[in-house]
Each structure stands twice: as C-alpha cells, then as structure tokens.
C-alpha cells in the first residue's frame, strides 16, 4: 500500500485502460447481478404489501417468481462474467510470465556466473499462479460487492429514500474503518509472507546440507537460527490475528449496525407512511445481500489483495526490464558482420584489414586490468597479449586465477577497467551485441530441448547443410552419439544426456559455426583424455584463431603457444621455452608427467606470490 502500491499503480491503470472493453463487458454482465439483488428485497416488499398481506396470494407468488427468475438470470450471467474474468486474468498472467522470462534471461546474460537460480521456477509457476488466482478472486469479489451494493442501494431508494438516511451512515463508517485497517494489515501480511519465505529458504538450506550441519557439529546454532525465524513468522501471524479482529468490528459496524438502527427507527418510519412490506424488504437487503457481500469483500481484500500486491511487486520490479524496452534505449551497436570497422576515436593505424575468415583474426590485449568489484583485487593486472591470426593458444594456471575472465573479456562479456582489447583490429566492448566472428564455448555446455539439428546449427545464422553437420560431428567425435540418439532430427532431452555428451554437442556446434575466432573455456573438461585430444585436434585443424583454457595440462602440448597465468604475472611461450622460464609451468607439467611425483617435497607452488 505504500511504495510497492505507488509503483504498481500506474502500470495497473495502464493494464486496465488497455482492456476497457473487457471491463465494460464484465460490468454489463454484472448488472444482471444488481437486478437480482434489487428484486430480492423489492420483490419481497411488493409480494407482502400487494399480495400476502392483502390476501391476494397470486400477486405475492408472482412477485416472488419474478425474483426467482432474476436469481436464475443472474446465475446465467455468471458465464459471461467468467469469460470477462478470463480476458482480464489470462493476459495478466501472460505478461507476468513474459516479464519473468525476460528479466531472468537478461540478468543471466549480464551475469552468466550467477545464472543458476532455481528460485526462478517458483517465480514462473507458483508466484504467477498466486497472482492469477488472487487477481481473479479480487475481481470477482470486488465486482460482486459493488454490483450487490448498487442493487441494494437502488432497492432501498425505490422502496423509500428515507431508508438510505438510516442505512448509509453506519455502512460508510464501517467501510471507512475497514479501509483504514487495509494499510497496516497489508504491512503485516507482507511481513508474514517475507518471514514465511525466509523460513522456507532457511529450511531449504538446512535440508540440502544436513550432512554438513551434522559434520560441522553446528546443530545448536542452526536450530537457534531456525527458532528465531519461526518466532518471526509467529509474531507476524499473531499481529495479523489482531487485525483480523479489528476487521470483524468493521464488519459489525458496516453490516450489523444498520439492522439495529432500522429496527430502532421502525416505529418512526411507519409513522412516516412506510409499510410492513417495505421494512421487511429493507431488512432483507441488509441481512441477505449486504452482510454476506461485505463479509466476502473484507476477507478477500485483506488477504488476497495483499498477496497480490506482494507477488506483483516481486515479479514486476527488478533491475532489468523488457529487452524490447532497453534495446531501443541503448546506443545502436555497430553492425557486427559487416567488414571490420575502425573505431573513430582510436589512434590505431587505419589499414584496410583483411576480412576475418579464413585465417582468423588477430587478438590483442593492451595493459588490460580487470576486477570484479571496486573493492576487489584485480583478477588480471596490466595484461599484454597478442594472439596471431590462425594461432592456437592454450591458457593454463591454477583455478580462480582469471582464465575464464580472460575469455569473457575477449568475447566481450566483460569490460576491462583499464586497457584495450581488439579483435581483428576492432575494439571489443561489453554488450556490443551479437558478434558472429567469435564464439565462446564455456564449461557448462548449453543443450536445449529440440532436435539435434537445431542444437548443432544454433550458431549458424543461415543454417547448415546436412553434410556439414555430419563433417563437424565426426570431427569432434560426436558421430557415435548422433547414431545412438537416432539421427540429426531426433528430439533431445537434455536431462538424459551426460555432461560429456552435452560438451560434445556444444563442441560440434562451435566447429560447425562460421566463426573465425573460437574460445574454448574448459569446454572439454567432462570428456576423457582421448576424446578431449580428438576434439582439440579437430579445432586445431579448423581454420581460424583458437584460444583454449586448459582443464588438463595435456592440452598445452597441442598448442602453438601457451599462456601461463599466475596471479601477479602472465608468461607466454612454447612448451620448451616455458619449461625453462616458468616455475609454475614446470610444476604443472611435472604433476602431469607421472614419475616426477615426490611425496610432499620438491615442488614449489608456494614460492609464487599469489595475487599480492
């Protein structure tokens, strides 16, 4: 009701304004409900005054028959109401799902390392469903209350305008009290939902890591932390119960007090010329129509309304918006697949560069520094590197030393804090859009539900002939799997594939693509050494520039040159050069070669200063 509501309000108005026709249709059908309410009291009054009380029972029964018909007609109108409801609710759900998908994809693409977030499934299924159900409930209840109230007020007005004078003040006062409780109740409800979510998250981590909790002997602190969260939720629930009690009072004020007032003033009303039938009709409106409608309204607005607000706020607010919206806001990226351009501000020699393929582009890094946060130490510091066109470079070094960061920088996924990166003479910028001449195959191979053909030609914008698909499959060693899966047009179920099989598919995809610069970031780590050798050989024979981040040190032997990253320093050279120049490389190569293992002693990884 505070900030989230304020933020949601304009969007909600836009949503409804775009659906004016549906809203009007819904209102039209609901008018039949008003007619039903109107006749429920009016019919009773007339049946009594003109029928049963005057002994003319036929007229009395006729009035009641009319009111029964109105009930059935109102019921039939329900079909139209639900059609209108679907036209309001389903678009809301569609738009929420679109936003969740767009936002999580945008975020994942911006921060690939954080992408594996299972909460997105809950947002996509549970939370959009909560929004759908709550919104539908609210529309139904609010609509029902409004049209019931309209029917009852019109009925009272046509029976005797004086009645409104008695009924309206307490009804309005009760509604105002109820509206006043909405804001604090919404706050408590939000606190409750938040506490519930925190508790689930905590239970989830404990359930996932039970072994670790016990092994760490941390049962006591873990239980205490859970007790704290349990108490938080219980406190929120107790406060909610208090507000529910206040809501009961509001209901009493709005629904019950008018009944009492009507009775108290009845002698006076009768003196003003009102009949017994009119008084009975008025009481019918109050007890049979308004009281139940108020009851449902107050229950639904209190809980479903808040739930909807909370879920909508969670689903629709976040850093990323629709990509359609942001794409136009960004400066237009330079067309990637035209002839290489030279940045206007660059002082680089303006030479007519050769088109990238088939030799492959030159990759140049000049004094590149990169850190993951302003307070973090740089992962790469003043790195200079040139990879010649068509060269095969292997990057080695301990885990976490910045190998993946290097490939991400060259691929344009990250932007260096200082320095410059050029591919084929063109500066690389983060978020510079799709860039077909270079592709990056990460450790986590991407395979999607679809045919094998779709998966393999994923990086070929113009598709690829079957013969090319087969050549690439055979080259990287995917041939056998293609047969096993039932050919190129077999449907893939990624869950049934092993990590190694996924990597083979990703490798064949890269091999098939027209890219002239291929970055393999531990893309073969789930293959056995023989399969890895075959795949790497296939890429070495493929024309173009190749940068491989090695998972196994054996990859280094297949390279033209090797880059050794060691935190503070980077050393580049051939295998033989590095054996002489880099102690770290000697260690790595040594631990790869069996026989040079010495128990505990002799190796000197520790002599290298690590990142300051």
């Amino acid at each position: 009701m505070t900030t989230p509501t304020a933020r949601l309000q304009p969007r909600a108005m836009r949503f409804l304004r775009r659906r004016t026709r549906v809203v009007l249709l819904l209102a039209g059908w609901s008018l039949l409900e008003s007619a039903h309410t109107f006749l429920s009291g009016y019919g009773v009054a007339k049946a009594l005054d003109q029928g049963f009380l005057t002994g003319d029972t036929g007229v009395g029964l006729a009035w009641l028959a009319v009111s029964a018909l109105a009930v059935v007609a109102g019921g039939l109108a329900g079909r139209g109401v639900f059609r209108g409801l679907a036209d309001l609710v389903e678009p809301l759900r569609d738009s929420l799902i679109r936003q969740v998908v767009s936002r999580s994809l945008t975020q994942a693409v911006a921060h690939p390392a954080r992408a594996a977030d299972s909460a997105v499934v809950s947002r996509l299924t549970n939370q959009t469903e909560i929004a759908r159900d709550s919104f539908a409930g609210l529309v139904l209840v609010a609509r029902s209350f409004v049209f019931t109230a309209v029917g009852a007020v019109l009925g009272l007005l046509s029976l005797a305008p004086l009645l409104l004078l008695i009924v309206m003040p307490p009804l309005a006062a009760g509604l105002l009290l109820f509206l006043a409780t909405l804001r604090p109740m919404a706050a408590r409800q939000r606190a409750f939902l938040q506490a519930d979510e925190d508790l689930s998250t905590q239970f989830g981590t404990v359930a996932e890591g039970l072994r670790d909790v016990v092994a760490c002997g941390a049962q006591q602190p873990t239980a205490e932390r859970a007790h704290g969260l349990i108490e938080d939720e219980a406190r929120a629930a107790r406060q909610l119960a208090g507000w529910a009690a206040v809501r009961c009072l509001a209901l009493g004020l709005a629904g019950q007090l008018p009944i009492l007032l009507l009775l108290v003033t009845a002698p006076w009303l009768l003196r003003q010329g009102l009949t017994a039938g009119v008084v009975l009709g008025a009481l019918t409106y109050l007890t049979q129509s308004l009281l139940p409608a108020l009851h449902t309204l107050m229950n639904a607005l209190g809980s479903a309304g808040t739930r909807l607000l909370v879920v909508l706020a969670r689903l629709t607010t976040g850093p990323a918006q629709d990509p359609e919206a942001t794409a136009t806001a960004e400066p237009t990226p330079t067309a990637p697949d035209t002839a290489p351009l030279v940045a206007a501000t660059s002082l680089a020699p303006v030479s007519p560069l050769v088109p990238a393929a088939p030799v492959g582009p030159r990759v140049e890094l000049r004094a590149v520094t990169f850190a993951y946060g302003p307070a973090a130490q740089p992962v790469l510091h003043d790195l200079d590197l040139t990879v010649e066109p068509g060269e095969h470079l292997v990057v080695v070094g301990p885990s976490g030393i910045g190998k993946s960061t290097l490939t991400a920088l060259v691929a344009g996924l990250l932007e260096p804090a200082h320095g410059e990166i050029r591919v084929a003479g063109r500066p690389v910028r983060a978020g510079s859009g799709p860039s077909l001449p270079r592709i990056l195959i990460p450790q986590q191979a991407y395979v999607f539900s679809g045919t094998l053909r779709e998966n393999l030609s994923y990086l070929c914008p113009d598709g690829a002939p079957t013969s090319a698909l087969q050549t690439s499959s055979d080259a990287v060693g995917l041939g056998q799997l293609v047969c096993r899966l039932g050919g190129l047009d077999a449907q893939l179920d990624p869950i049934t594939l092993s990590q190694g099989e996924r990597q083979l598919i990703a490798l064949a995809r890269a091999h098939l693509s027209p890219a002239s610069l291929v970055l393999l970031d531990e893309a073969t780590c789930h293959l056995d050494p023989a399969a890895e050798m075959r795949a790497e050989r296939a890429f070495a024979e493929r024309p173009g520039t190749l940068i491989v981040v090695a998972h196994r040190i054996t990859s280094a032997r297949r390279a033209d040159r090797i880059l050794v990253l060691d935190g503070a320093r980077a050393t580049c050279g051939t295998h033989d050069e590095l054996l002489g120049r880099s102690a770290l490389y000697r260690d790595l190569a040594g631990s790869w070669q069996p026989g040079t293992l010495e128990r505990g002693a002799g190796l000197s990884a520790k002599s290298h200063p690590r990142g300051g």
Binding site: R114, V206, G217, I230, A237, A245, L260, L263, A376, G400
Partner: protein
Amino acid sequence: MPRTPGPPSAARRRPDAGVRSVLTGAFRHSPARATAACLFSVLSAASAVALPAVLGHTLDLVLGVRPGLHGALALCAALLVAEVFLDALVALTGGVTTARSTAWLRRRGINHLMSLAPHRVVDRFTPGDLVTRLTGNAADAGTAPTTAATGLAALVTPVGSLIALALTDIWLAAVFLAGLPLLTRLLRVFARGSSDSVRRYQHAQADIATRLVEALGGARTIAAAGTAERERARVLAPLPELGAQGRQMWQVYGRAVVGSSILVPLLTTSVLAVGGLRLAYGGLSVGELLAASRYAALTAGLGGVMGQLNTLVRSRAAAHRIGELLALPAAAHGSRPLPADGCGRLELQGVTVVRGGAPALRGIDLVVPGGTIMAVVGHSGSGKSLLAAVAGRLTEPDSGQVLLDGVPLGEADPSQLRREIGYAFERPALFGATVGAAIGFGPYEPPAHAIEAAARAAGADSFVRLLPDGYRTPLAGSPLSGGEVQRLGLARAFAHAGRLLILDDATSSLDSVTELHVSRALMHDVRTGSRLLIAHRVSSAARADLVAWMENGRLRAVAPHDRLWADADYRAVFAHTDGSDSRTAA
C-alpha cells in the same frame, strides 16, 4: 553397538499414534487459548441463531405497536453487539492459537531433525519434501486446534437454525429440507462438464519452466552468441497454449461456481413463497417470515461444516507427515569424554554397514595411528565415502564399532566429538550470511584471523580477496565455481580442525597446483592430528603415510603407496580418474 529404538517397531505399533501425538501435543501447547476459542465461537453461534427470532419478534412488536418493544430492542442490540465482539475474539484467539501451534510444531521438527543421523533423513526424504513438511505441512497441522475448537460452533449455527426454522414453522422446515436435495441435483446437471485442461495447463507451464531453466544454464553460451532474444521467443513458445487452457479452466470453474451461487437464494425464495401463503392465511406473522428466511439462509451454511471438516482432514494428513519425520529415531549418544592427550588414533573394528539390504562395507578392521595421514583409494562404489562417513559418525555401523583415542564414538560426548572430528566434502553445502561466516560455521565461531588463516591454508584466500567485498561478500550473491566452493568447505574444516580430519574427495575440483598447495598446508599449517583422505589422484595417495585400498566394500590392503604401486590392480585404480569422473555416493 549402542541400542537405538528401531523405526519399524515404532511404525508397526500403531500407525495413528504419531498423528495423535502431534495433534494432541499441538493442542496441549495452548489449552487455555483453544478452550477460549471454542467457548467464544459457540457463544457467537448461539447469538447468531437467537438473533433472527428476536429480530422477527421485535419487528412484530413494531408493526403491532405492542408493549415490550424497548426490552426487545435492547435484547436485539445486546445480541448483535455480542456477536460482533465474540467474532472478533474468535478471530484473535484462533489466529494466535494457530500461530503458536505452528511455531511449536516447527520447533519440534527442526530440533528433531538436528538430532538425527543425516543419512536416515536423506534415505527417507528429499530436501524439498522435508521443507514442505516443516513449512506447509506444519502450518496445516497447526490449524488443527483452532479448527477443532471452532468446529462445534460451525455445527451449532446451521443445526440450530434448522431447529429454529422448524420451531418457527414446521412447514417451512419441510419445504427447505425437500428443496435442498432437489435443487442440488438440478444444479449438478447444470454444472456438469469436465475437462483435462488443468493437466494441460500444468504441462504447458512446466514446459516453459524447463525451457527457461535450460536457457539459464546456458547463459554464458547465449551471452557470448548474443542470442538472448531468440531464446526469449523459444522459452515463451508454449505461452498461447497456456492461455487457451487457462480460459478453458475458468469456464469449467465458472459453471461450478454459478451453480452453487444460486442455490441459497432459490431456497430462500421458495421458503418465502410458502411462508407468504402461511402469512396470508394467518399461520405466520411478518416477523416470523423474516426469521424464517434468515434461518433458511443460515441453515444453508451447512456447507461450511464440510469446509471445516476438510480442513481437519488436511490437518490430520499434515500431522501424519510431520509424525513420519518425528518417528525417525534420534542418534543415540553417550557422555564419555575423549582423553585429553589423545592425538587422533582412529580404529575401526569389524565395521559392517548395510545399505539397501546388502552390505556396503564388510568387516572393516583398520587403524589410523594418531597423527598420520591415511589415504583411502578404490574404484567407484567400493565404499570409500561410506568409510569416511562411518569413521566420523555421520553414519552408524550396523555391526562393529569405531573408536577415537580408545573411546567408542557411540559412547562419546557428541559435542566434544564434533569439535574433534572435522569433515570436508567434495560438494560442501555452505551456510552463513557472508563468505567469512561460511568458513566460521560450526559449533563455535573462530576469530577473524583464524578464518583467514584457514582460508589461506585451503587456497581460498586468493579468490576470496578478489570478491567484491572480500570476506564480507554475501554468500548468496557470490558467483562461486565448484572448485571455489570446495575450497571454502576445506577452509571451514581447517578453521575448526580437531584431532581427526576427514577429507571426502574434498580436493577433486582443484587443479594440480592448488591441490599440492593444500596438501602441504594440511601437513604444516593446520592443527596436527590424524587425517583420513578419500582420494582419486595418484598424487594424493603418494603423499599419504599409508594407503587403505578398498575393493567391493572390503579392505584389500593397507600399506604405503610405493609398496602397493608394484601391483597392477592397484595402478588400475587410478587409470580413469582424472578429476572429473562421476561417482555414486555410497
């Protein structure tokens, strides 16, 4: 072997015993509140039943201008106000009782969970299932005391109203009772029609979720290829189908709702019609007609009792699911202290562990002399991880016993045991708000310098310093690789190192250099004691003092690596293990 109450006997005794103890326990936790809720709700129902008759009587007095009007009006006012305030009290006490019961059930659940041997839980429940039991099921079961307490009132209103209707006019009660089944059947015909749109709807929804999860898993590929827009379209492809099935669902639901919404007004109208006829012939007053129509509506509220019963049935089922968790026997433990001067001598005597009906470890006799490093090697499925679990009492042996410095683990003081035995795993689960807290997680929080020293020893310090906020970086938002998580798990074990450290494949994702660095730190920088290393790499085995070679759940040999290396079978153990093979955890 310590005696533990077996789960089968408890389960066989009485299947309902667990449910009953959960529900009565929840009730006993707040008896006064539950009783109050019961009392308030019955009083509120009584005034609700009395009100129409009093209203009708008052109306008759008004219309007839007869004496006694003031008294009747006062009674009306009293009943109306009482009903309103009693309802408010029911809402308050009922809500508070539910909150208390739910919290009590959850505390019991988590406390019991913390007393269990982890494998007993993992064997029975998936993590998601466990969370559901402790959150949703506990909330459902927690409503039981309130629902039961207010159940009587839910019955009082409709039954009392029916009796009151009969007392007002027996013919009207007859009309109501005859009309109810007739109309219900009629409306059921009207609402007929089912469809499998719910199933198709959920299918389309799951389809979108699957596509999205796939795409998120391939985020780096998508980012590098710039195909995010294409992915968006691919993920959203099933959306039109979802919308179509959703509309179908509303139609089906609408038909059902419309049917039930006209039942009560039609019944009331027929009661009014017959009542009007009785009125015309002098058998009924206007006030009685008002009371009768109100009683008809209140009696139709009998459906609410079904709702209440439904809630109780759900609570019962939920209580059953919590009872299943509470029925798991807690791990037995003793209180014997470990000798103060012990240096971590670990001894397994005839240890057998049965998994899935077959022995997974058979008669293991093994001694790790205090202060030495023992590597455990063997093919996948040979029982290495189970040996690691049983050595530190994450699992109890089915026969035989494990001793640490001469004290059987089952008799030792459990809190001391956990201080003295540390574990690091291949895939550790990390806890704590920040990266530093994740390392400090344990029976006690080590000082900051100890945490950093442990991180240095585990080769984690370098990458932690690269994180945006160093050790204070929130754990939740940190992009950590498998190898980094593994090193944080190692640091956690190092920070709390006692006399025995068990490393269950805890360096598998580390590159050769980091692993070497860690194993050297393990020898020099971490508190001395015995080490049990489950290893896949030949280098780890080579650096250990002794190697225990496992084969099919048995110990094949215990000897230094150099001596075993001569055996071709031994060398074959390392043939296919280059850090990334998949293993089945025992």
